[in-house]
């Protein structure tokens, strides 16, 4: 007898939806054991996490606020993943988008709200797009590995933002702290229901819808999928793979750039450190779990929002250390990603046949 791993030819819908649910249950079981060790009743803790994240209008609004940049950057990464292009640089593209939007908000001289919104959107779109476009060009022209280029450009982006906020863009009234000045009211998103929920969430849903239509209903979307799964066949069919690589990375970066725009215009109202606490990296997990589907990205981002916002209650109510919150979130992600394996592969016990 021995255990072999075998690729599944097909995976049933039951498996595809069932496996993540089962994996979350297993994760909750293990996390529950940890909670018990810490002297906290798991059921009570889970109820509080849910209550914190979706139990009130306020909690729900905070979960949606958290999900907004995750949806946008998740869409960005999943678009590239569709074509088997690995954009690890959403983090840097978020920062560059935020930079473009900040420039328009602070230094363009525009004062009209809608002009500013269009201007900031465009600047974020272009800055994020061009930043990723560099990797696209290198990949299309000289087959330079985009994983390395996009990843490394994150560091450049963040250091460049540092240069701006410690240098030329520093708020003259800010006692030399590394912050830009705050945006005028006209350069900010509207808020809803007296909460922090802002137009950026609608923007994210809009992007998800457009991407969904683009991917599933247009020829270009179809081409991207074909090029991704079989580049040679695509070339044989006359598709321009090089140009597609560039434009897909450009679009991917542009969407991540919009995430940066949404964060500065909707929440932070200035460019500063910690604008993104790693949304660009979380986006990779989201895109993976969502199986590169736009709708999936929205769902996974909302779940991630619940996990991140609800985690607060563990600290607030029981004074559990932050490490516990990380461990809890890590466990859930670990089992979710693990379920992905079992959807694509199966374990099989084979009667041992010894060939000599």
């Amino acid at each position: 007898m021995k255990l072999v791993i075998e690729r599944r030819d097909t995976s049933s819908p039951l498996l595809r939806f069932g496996a993540p649910v089962v994996s979350i249950v297993i994760a909750l079981f293990f996390a529950g054991a940890l909670l018990l060790l810490a002297g906290v009743s798991p059921l009570e803790a889970y109820r509080e996490i849910l209550y914190e994240a979706v139990g009130s209008l306020y909690g729900l609004s905070e979960t949606l606020v958290k999900a907004t940049p995750l949806i946008l950057s998740g869409l960005a990464v999943s678009l590239a993943f569709r074509m088997q292009i690995w954009n690890i640089g959403a983090e840097g593209q978020i920062y560059m988008g935020a930079m473009g939007a900040t420039w328009v908000a602070l230094f363009s001289g525009m004062e009209n709200h809608w002009l500013l919104m269009v201007g900031m959107f465009s600047a974020a779109f272009i800055c994020g797009g061009l930043w990723a476009g560099v990797a696209g060009l290198l990949r299309a022209r000289w087959s330079v590995n985009e994983v390395i280029v996009t990843l490394m450009m994150n560091y450049i982006a963040i250091l460049f933002i540092n240069y701006l906020i410690y240098g030329p863009w520093r708020d003259p009234q800010g006692f030399n702290f590394p912050l830009t000045a705050q945006f005028a009211e006209a350069a900010r998103f509207a808020n809803f229901f007296d909460t922090r929920l802002h137009s950026g969430f609608l923007l994210a849903l809009g992007c998800a819808l457009i991407l969904y239509l683009f991917m599933e209903r247009t020829i270009w979307g179809y081409q991207i999928k074909v090029i991704g799964s079989n580049p040679q066949a695509a070339r044989y069919a006359g598709m321009r793979t090089g140009a597609s690589v560039f434009w897909v990375l450009f679009l991917s970066g542009a969407i991540a750039g919009i995430a940066g725009f949404s964060e500065v215009a909707g929440l932070q109202y200035r460019l500063q450190h910690g604008l993104s606490p790693g949304y660009g990296y979380t986006a990779i997990i989201i895109a993976w779990l969502a199986r590169r589907s736009a709708l999936g990205v929205v769902i996974v981002s909302l779940l991630m929002g619940i996990l991140l916002v609800g985690g607060d209650s563990l600290q607030m109510l029981w004074q559990l250390p932050i490490a516990f919150v990380y461990a809890f979130q890590g466990l859930i992600l670990f089992f979710l990603l693990g379920s992905d394996f079992f959807i694509q592969y199966r374990l099989k016990l084979v009667k041992g046949i010894h060939h000599g």
Partner: protein, 356 residues
């Protein structure tokens, strides 16, 4: 007529009763920390202060939330404390400034105290300590203990607080040893033991025999201990990480301030103020001096400490020159608080640049 007077008296008495009730407010305090309480540094020191404050008879058990980054994330966490009926909230890092102001604007009945920032409101006060005073004293010790006249300074971010510390330290060094140089390396971190260890090692590699530091981890102490150099800690008395190398450390003692504020809120005398306490109020101090420091140096430093406490000596009194040899403060002049708070130059004797 009589009736009116009685009515007036009743109203007056009710008013008094209401006032008296407000005066004896039970304190439920919440603390937002930027690092983990186990950092053996900055956050650890705040948490010691919190525990002291909690010993006051009119306080309910307080809550702390650790590792809360600055920016949008902090606003949700601060709001969470408000929603859980905390009526006195301390936010302890510069990045918590805008979030504190935002939450405070919606919750006028809660008192907020923000450390290290400059924005205030009717219900938001600020607090910090004149850490440059013990920094100066620790510089005197470093200046006396170095043999090679090269002192390394592992600096965090180039913000006024850190720059002020480097300058005060250097002025202390040069007051006893005009030939010594202070070499600065920026880590751009508050809490990253790996990066900070590398930075400390690089300073030891160029010949530094005394190190000073500004981060919240003991990485620099461990580097000095491993290489047989001396080290000056920071934040809290962390000599257990470097039993041989440790000379002293400028440290925080938040208990007096936390107790003071809690009492003021309890008795209804609190008003928004900007506290910047020094060694005179024991908010900052020098950790007890290592036995490796010769007695004459100890006496010298203790004398200076008494002068600082008595207000007869100010570390930033002229003449002070900047790194390019230009006079910044004339003889007989003392730097003003606004200038100290927005400090953005290096004094003579510092080797390094203000950018990274």
């Amino acid at each position: 007529m009589k009736k009116t007077m009685v009515m007036a008296l009743v109203v007056l008495l009710c008013g008094f009763a209401g006032h008296a009730l407000a005066q004896n407010k039970q304190i439920k305090a919440g603390f937002i920390y930027v690092g983990p309480v186990g950092d053996a540094g900055y956050t650890f020191a705040h948490d010691q202060g919190r525990q002291e404050m909690e010993k006051l008879p009119f306080t309910e058990p307080s809550t702390y939330i650790e590792s809360v980054p600055g920016g949008a994330e902090a606003e949700r966490v601060i709001n969470g404390l408000v929603r859980r009926n905390h009526n006195l909230i301390f936010t302890t890092s510069f990045g918590h400034m805008d979030p504190t102001i935002n939450v405070a604007a919606r919750n006028k009945e809660v008192v907020f105290m923000h450390a290290s920032g400059y924005k205030t409101a009717e219900n938001v006060g600020t607090y910090f300590g004149r850490m440059y005073e013990p920094r100066y004293l620790s510089g005197m010790i470093a200046g006396k203990m170095t043999n090679k006249n090269i002192i390394g300074y592992v600096a965090a971010f180039p913000i006024p607080e850190v720059i002020r510390g480097i300058n005060a330290f250097t002025l202390g060094v040069r007051s006893v040893n005009p030939d010594a140089q202070v070499r600065v390396v920026w880590t751009q971190t508050w809490f990253d033991p790996g990066v900070e260890r590398d930075a400390a090692d690089s300073l030891l590699d160029v010949g530094a025999d005394v190190l000073a530091m500004h981060q919240d981890t003991p990485a620099t102490l461990q580097a000095a201990e491993a290489r047989g150099a001396y080290v000056i800690g920071y934040n809290s008395d962390n000599r257990r990480f470097a039993p041989n190398a440790f000379l002293t450390a400028p440290i925080w003692n938040w208990a007096p301030l936390y107790t003071y504020v809690a009492e003021a809120v309890h008795s209804g005398t609190w008003v928004s103020e900007q506290f910047w306490w020094g060694m005179d109020k024991d908010l900052v101090r020098l950790a007890s001096l290592s036995d490796r420091i010769p007695t004459d140096v100890k006496i010298l430093v203790n004398q200076r400490a008494e002068e600082i406490k008595a207000g007869t000596f100010h570390p930033f009194s002229g003449p002070i020159k900047n790194r390019d040899g230009q006079k910044v403060i004339d003889a007989g002049q003392t730097m003003s608080d606004p200038d100290l708070l927005s400090m953005n130059f290096f004094v003579e004797g510092v080797q390094g640049t203000l950018s990274n």
